[in-house]
């Protein structure tokens, strides 16, 4: 009885480990995520994703799902963040998958830094871009 229970316990743990080691989303042979037409979105999603309405149905299913998931964070955002989201989402959707992947990797890399380092990098980049933008104006 105790042995059987131990066997079951081990089987459960093995299932956990295999799920963690081979997540379903990483299977290249997995069927593509189905598209969700614009009219089938919830009113909230449609409101948040409104800037993408004209191109929504052309987006691949996986990207639609990611955007929907991002849009679900919208109510929790600060007003300034909501503004940024609305402004940037069109450019974001227009980027190539490789560009988005690269941006995510850099973003994740930055998140791993301590907050002081993150601030330093942010300031440095904003300063440099500010100077570069002012350069042609001076000429």
């Amino acid at each position: 009885m105790a042995q059987e229970r131990l066997r079951l316990l081990l089987a459960g743990l093995a299932a956990c480990v295999s799920l963690a080691a081979f997540p379903a989303g990483t299977d290249p042979k997995a069927p593509p995520t189905p598209q969700t037409p614009w009219y089938r979105l919830s009113p909230q999603d449609r409101q948040v994703l409104a800037p993408l309405a004209p191109d929504w149905d052309k987006l691949p299913g996986y990207q639609q799902k990611r955007l929907q998931s991002a849009a679900r964070q919208y109510p929790k955002m600060q007003p300034i963040q909501q503004e940024r989201f609305q402004k940037r989402i069109v450019d974001w959707a227009a980027m190539t998958p490789e560009q988005r992947k690269a941006a995510r990797e850099t973003f994740k890399g930055m998140q791993k830094l301590p907050p002081s380092k993150q601030d330093e990098l942010r300031e440095r980049w904003l300063e440099q871009k500010g100077a570069a933008a002012a350069e042609p104006a001076r000429r």
Binding site: G12, A24, Q73, F85, W92, G109, P114
Partner: protein, 125 residues
């Protein structure tokens, strides 16, 4: 021999000996009887199918609870992992939301200079 038959057979012997029981023993027997009556509970009907005595029902309930406590953490872990692996898009979506709402514009994360600074900052950290 069932419990009732056993009781019937035992009764004359007990009655014969009852007169010989001293006061102290009689009091102890009385209190034991009262304790037994206190402990007795109505039999429980399980799922409307079988009737079992209260003690058995309690044991069953305990063993179910014990099993549940053993499996609950594993079930929760499995459910969490399954939810995570079945919806990788949700995780990426959350990351995208953070990226899109941060102080730095998207351009920064595609900028080569920024990438280089990040590499050197990560190296020095």
């Amino acid at each position: 021999m069932n419990e009732k038959n056993f009781g019937e057979k035992l009764r004359p012997w007990l009655q014969r000996s009852a007169s010989e029981v001293g006061e102290l023993q009689a009091t102890r027997l009385k209190s034991a009887r009262l304790r037994a009556l206190d402990a007795w509970r109505e039999p429980v009907r399980l799922l409307g199918v079988v009737t079992v005595n209260a003690g058995t029902a309690q044991t069953l309930k305990y063993s179910v609870l014990q099993q549940a406590l053993l499996w609950l953490p594993i079930v929760i872990l499995l459910a969490t992992l399954a939810a995570k692996t079945l919806s990788p898009e949700a995780d990426i979506g959350e990351l995208d939301a953070q990226l899109l709402t941060g102080e730095l514009p998207i351009d920064a994360f595609l900028d080569q200079d920024f990438g280089e600074w990040l590499k050197s900052a990560s190296g020095s950290f």
